[in-house]
């Protein structure tokens, strides 16, 4: 079985992100970057499936600029066998990313696509579902447990109502939630071994696709500063303020 895992480059989850001075994007200067944590969980799951003898190849794919090679190298160091970078020069919206991924799917023909449920930079939570629709494949989102057996995946997903267990025939798209697993530390030995693993760089044009971007990023701004609290003299004043100023009662 071949598993395709998506790897998005995002700002380090612990980095302090601020808008740039023009307010057109985040300030990228000096930022640390990482694999989207949900993608990392998806990759870890793929590695565990392979270690259990249920898969023989893991392909990591990223869509972005050349700098994404760093995250793909990390993916190779963790245990992916191959990596593919689809080079883009313009930002793509979730629909376009899903369209690009359909081409990767056709090219690679994996039996399983594992993705993070969302990326922590834009928090869209759309690509997995869109990709399933475009490919007309079953989907199991927000997976917190995955069991692969005889060409089907049994997936537990965390919902507000409780844990839901679903079964999907493969090939399918599964998106990883936070509690699916705890990704391993990257071993130095793995990094050194990754030197000889293939990392293919494909310009978007070579996939024969020209996505129509329908979402535009208008502005990036700080959330409004929280206003200082106010001391009130008694309950009577509190109720009055809640009614008249806050207008919540």
């Amino acid at each position: 079985m071949k598993i395709l895992v998506t790897v998005k480059r995002v700002p380090d989850p612990y980095a302090k992100v601020v808008p740039n001075t023009a307010g057109t994007d985040i300030a990228r200067e000096g930022l640390q970057w990482a694999i989207n944590p949900f993608d990392e969980i998806a990759l870890e799951e793929a590695i565990r499936i392979k270690e259990a003898g249920k898969a023989n190849e893991i392909v990591a794919v990223s869509i972005g600029g050349d700098e994404c090679q760093e995250q793909l190298r990390t993916a190779l160091a963790m245990g992916a066998d191959r990596a593919v970078l689809i080079q883009i020069t313009e930002w793509l919206d979730p629909t376009s990313i899903a369209h690009v991924l359909t081409r990767i799917y056709q090219r690679e023909q994996p039996q399983l696509i594992l993705m993070g449920k969302q990326a922590i930079d834009t928090d869209d939570n759309q690509v997995g579902q869109m990709l399933a629709a475009l490919l007309d494949l079953p989907q199991a989102t927000f997976a917190s447990k995955i069991h692969i057996e005889n060409g089907t995946a049994t997936v537990e997903r965390e919902t507000d109502a409780g844990i839901e267990t679903i079964r999907v025939p493969l090939p399918a798209i599964i998106t990883a939630d936070l509690r699916l697993n705890q990704p391993r530390y990257v071993a130095l030995t793995g990094i050194v071994r990754a030197r000889s693993k293939p990392l293919e760089v494909l310009p978007l044009a070579e996939l024969g696709i020209a996505p129509q971007v329908r979402v535009r990023l208008l502005a990036v701004e700080r959330p409004p500063a929280r206003q200082a609290g106010k001391r009130v003299a008694d309950v009577r004043e509190l109720v009055r303020l809640l009614k008249e100023e806050a207008r919540v009662i």
């Binding site: 530390y185 990257v186 130095l188 050194v192």
Partner: protein
């Protein structure tokens, strides 16, 4: 013969170009990935267990070391043939920096991979290497280095531990007690030094399980409480003859041979610890409110943060420049070659002066940073409720172990002289003579260049001459008594430390500039550091001259010193430091090159 940019000690005589030195900005993305892997391990597994480590929870440090071994974190410096990763010295130094974010663990790790493991790599027989190194690389065995004794610390050759050949001719019987052995509580093997027949100082590989080997109780230390420090007791300890390490009577090669690298690595560890402390101090300064505002707003707090960042930048520049030099001499040694050990030894013996400089400079930068971290925390810094107190306690040992800073200061001049006598420092005598000739010529003072980096370049050239002049005169005037007049030697050592750091900073900032990177903050730090270093060099040289010359001779020498330390430019260190502090406050860390 491989090409070496600068031989050991040659920095005092020659100029190099920025392109010839290694800087942290030269790391590849793979190097950074390796460092990140080390950092994630320490932040994820080690730091959260700080309290348990400090209490020496049973088995914890060994478990962490074994886990580090599984991840390859014990094998950076070892050849692939012996289970290591065979990384360049630059990369292994970066890993050492990242492994040092919890001081006790850093010491346990450092003793294992450094003075515990390297003696076998540098001096072992092929059989010893094959038997021990792969298991040390994996963490299956933990190593320790047992040299000091109760009455023999700075003077290791006075050791009293004895080795006698047993009547069976197959074993040595070792008797004696070693002190301050790091990792003793959990080590599986010890590099032990003993005198064969009470005379021939010799190294042995001693397994913990050999009959007659035991360890004492834990020492109650001021800091690095989570590291194990015990006596190793050898009571007719039976050590097979094949466990003699290197030649009988040549134990001093082993003892001193790994200390250079050990001293260098200590500076890398001090760098990691200093950066961590700066971040902690900065966050506290931003949180702590006094007079209705964060104390970070105040000039004297900004001064401290900026000075910490500047010292860290200087240490970092110095550490990685030296790592690059070490890499030049260690690179390409075939670990399986019949003369591999001789090659390792030659490489290791190239930079004792630079390694001693780094040991002193690194430990003193860390001490300064730790001290100011406590100071910024005020009264809270004096309680164990905050991490600052632990940083302060943990820092202190660095000025003591791996050769006290006093011993290392004395070593610098001693090693320079030895290298010169052995012909390993060509040009020293010529340089000293050229200065003498130059001093005999009248010279019209010229104004300093306006460009700050050019001006600093001129000061570096002049500082070298001032130091060569002072050291040369000290050797000539004081002669053999110089060994006894340690104060003069220490003044010269401080000159060398400041010069080496000042030049390393200057070269790095110029390299940044040549790479087209933003040098606003590096330039500010370079100016603050270089001007003060130049002042410090002048002051130490002046005091050295006063210590051995008098009358007309003193006046002539002081005039000569003035000629080389005169400067016509000055800097506004207050304004520069505020600029540096604002960077530190914004990023909550020491300076690093921005994204691409």
């Amino acid at each position: 013969m491989r090409t070496i940019t600068l031989r050991g000690g040659e920095f005092l005589l020659r100029e190099v170009e920025p392109a010839q030195v290694f800087t942290p900005e030269d790391f590849t993305s793979e190097d950074l990935l390796l460092a990140q892997a080390a950092e994630e391990f320490v932040r994820g597994e080690v730091q959260p267990r700080n309290e348990a480590i400090e209490k020496q929870e049973e088995g914890l440090t060994v478990r962490l070391l074994k886990k580090a071994g599984e991840l390859g974190l014990l094998g950076a410096d070892l050849p692939e043939a012996f289970g290591g990763l065979e990384l360049p010295k630059t990369t292994s130094t970066l890993i050492a920096e990242k492994m040092s974010l919890q001081a006790s663990f850093a010491v346990s790790w450092g003793a294992h991979v450094g003075i515990g493991t390297l003696p076998i790599l540098f001096f072992g027989t092929p059989e010893q290497k094959q038997k021990y190194l792969p298991r040390l690389a994996k963490g299956e065995l933990i190593a320790a280095f047992a040299l000091s004794e109760a009455n023999c610390g700075s003077d290791p050759l006075s050791a009293r531990t004895k080795a006698t050949l047993a009547p069976d001719g197959k074993h040595y019987l070792l008797n004696g007690e070693k002190m301050w052995t790091t990792n003793a509580g959990w080590a599986d093997l010890f590099i032990v030094f003993a005198k064969v027949d009470g005379e021939k100082f010799t190294a042995f590989i001693v397994e913990r399980g050999f009959p007659g080997v035991s360890v004492g109780r834990e020492e109650h230390k001021m800091g690095i409480k989570g590291s194990s420090t015990r006596r190793v007791i050898l009571d007719n300890a039976q050590v097979p003859v094949e466990n003699v390490l290197h030649e009988i009577g040549k134990g001093h090669h082993v003892a001193f041979g790994v200390l250079n690298i050990g001293r260098f690595k200590l500076a890398a560890a001090a760098l990691g610890g200093s950066k961590e402390a700066l971040t902690i101090a900065t966050r506290y300064a931003k949180e702590r409110q006094q007079f209705g505002q964060p104390i970070a707003n105040f000039g004297l707090i900004k001064h401290k943060l900026a000075e910490m960042a500047t010292q860290i930048y200087a240490l970092e520049s110095t550490v990685y420049r030296t790592a690059g030099m070490l890499d030049e001499v260690f690179h390409g040694i075939d670990p399986l070659a019949p003369d591999a050990n001789a090659q390792y030894r030659e490489a290791d013996e190239e930079y004792p002066v630079e390694c001693a400089i780094l040991k002193v400079f690194g430990s003193e930068v860390l001490d300064y940073v730790a001290d100011e971290t406590v100071q910024i925390h005020g009264g809270f810094g004096y309680t164990e409720e905050f991490h600052a107190a632990q940083i302060y306690r943990d820092s202190r040992i660095n000025r003591i172990f791996e050769g006290t800073n006093e011993i290392n200061r004395l070593l610098m001049l001693d090693q320079l002289m030895r290298r010169a006598l052995k012909g390993k420092l060509p040009g020293l005598m010529e340089a000293a003579q050229a200065i003498r000739a130059e001093l005999n010529q009248p010279q019209m003072p010229t104004p300093d260049p306006i460009d700050p980096l050019e001006a600093i370049g001129k000061y570096i050239v002049n500082a070298k001459k001032a130091i060569l002049m002072t050291a040369g005169m000290a050797v000539e005037q004081v002669g053999t008594e110089l060994e006894e007049k340690q104060e003069i030697v220490a003044h010269l050592a401080d000159c060398l430390i400041q010069l080496y750091a000042m030049e390393s900073v200057w070269l790095r900032t110029r390299k940044l500039q040549q790479k087209g990177l933003d040098i606003t903050i590096p330039l500010a730090m370079t100016r603050v550091f270089a001007y003060e270093a130049f002042d410090t060099i002048e002051a130490h040289a002046r005091r050295a001259l006063h210590a051995f010359a008098e009358g007309d001779m003193l006046q002539i020498l002081l005039a000569a010193l003035k000629r080389y330390t005169r400067r016509t430019s000055e800097v506004n260190t207050m304004a520069l430091r505020r600029q540096i502090a604002d960077y530190v406050l914004q990023h909550e860390r020491a300076w690093m090159a921005g994204g691409k």
